[in-house]
Point group: D2
Chain length 141, copies 4
């Protein structure tokens, strides 16, 4: 992912900066705050399914990455226990997708996060809901 | 995706053969029958998240691809309306993931498919449930 | 359900007023606006599971009722295609649950609604996400 | 719930026998084995929604009860962390619903269970997937 080098991130957030898949897919971090994150990506030709539209796995991966950033806001390692996605519109190569993740609730080690994926016109492409689990591990440096 | 050229596929199934993301991720179709499909993939270094484990979006993309094959078994175009995934174990680069998709129920234009993702030891990595919607479009040649 | 007789409701909303289960469970409509609804209920002894806490099916039924009200805001009959619920805290008889439903997205005949269930202290008990489907039927008077 | 008094159940299973909601709704345990349970119920007039069909919360409560029985097969208390339901057909009062729950996967303290709800003709009414969490509590007597 492309980030402003002047920004400082600690713990788990720092680790997420080394996300290899996000870099390979060209994701860019637009906003990164405690409990909230925005990540965008331009759909490429090699991200389509057999019907020529953006593969559902790509839309999910973008939302999942924003979710991972939003739920890792301290030194504890928080992982995804699972997620649900509902597709509302299809997109094609050349379009820009933006995933906005926000914490909705937290109770003990469990969290619920909502991620809305929109296209460049602001139309909703998918609604994602992630379930987070905070582990007892602490992110190393 | 790599497939046996001697096999014949019609309609929507044929279209899925042109899935660009699956090819880019190195997915291989192991089985492809009406209502059932098996797809495998070796996890690469560029498929990891910031914690160095397989990105949840990759596990989802593999399951979603098997689901798409299983639900497109005639000329009608069937798409994913949404899906839920629960992660049960993490994996790392070099491991082989296998997604087995089976139709569970169908009613009108709606279908429910279960996809189990396992690693090379047979251990369950994730359980995915997809909701399909059969459109009125017919797959072109 | 108990409602203010001076209020006017048309179409599908009116039909929901005849919800037999809601009446049997003692649900009360607190707010009822297009795309938003609030329904509350006091947990009774006959609503518990074997562990003596509120049965998950009761929490779901309350959220589902608020969802049904929020998604039926004109003459078209809108039904639930499905829903996901995550439990965050348990409750016991005597406590008051409140379900607040809001439309999140809509595209064509599909809608996504979020329902948060809280207890009398405002603590979140469960997060529910409903998927609505607007049918071609029109609610009869 | 109505059960054969000659049967023996230990721990958490025993506690489920005291499920007050199941009794109030007239649920009957048809089968109860480790990792599998079948529960049935006749839909009553007071279980309908405003459209005169079985309330989604009732279908969910039946599935959830079968899930609770299937996931509590030893002394440890196992609870529902959440669930997803997809509705495939509607039913009306007088029909008999049957929920069949089976364990699909388990990893550590997390389990995934599938519950299929059918009507008296065997037609699928809903597909439910439950996520279980085994707590550190032990069921008392």
């Amino acid at each position: 992912m492309t980030v402003d080098p002047a920004e400082h991130f600690a713990g788990a957030r720092e680790m997420l900066r080394r996300d290899r898949l996000s870099a390979a897919l060209g994701m860019v971090v637009v906003r990164d705050e405690p409990g909230e994150a925005v990540v965008s990506m331009v759909v490429r030709e090699d991200m389509t399914n057999g019907f020529g539209i953006t593969h559902g796995g790509i839309v999910f991966a973008l939302a999942d990455t924003a979710f991972a950033m939003a739920c890792n806001d301290d030194d504890a390692v928080t992982v995804s226990a699972g997620a649900d996605i509902t597709y509302l519109a299809s997109t094609t190569p050349g379009q820009t997708l933006m995933a906005t993740a926000r914490r909705r609730s937290r109770s003990g080690r469990t969290g619920v996060f909502d991620v809305t994926v929109t296209d460049e016109t602001g139309a909703v492409v998918a609604e994602f809901r992630g379930r987070s689990l905070t582990t007892r591990r602490v992110a190393g440096g």
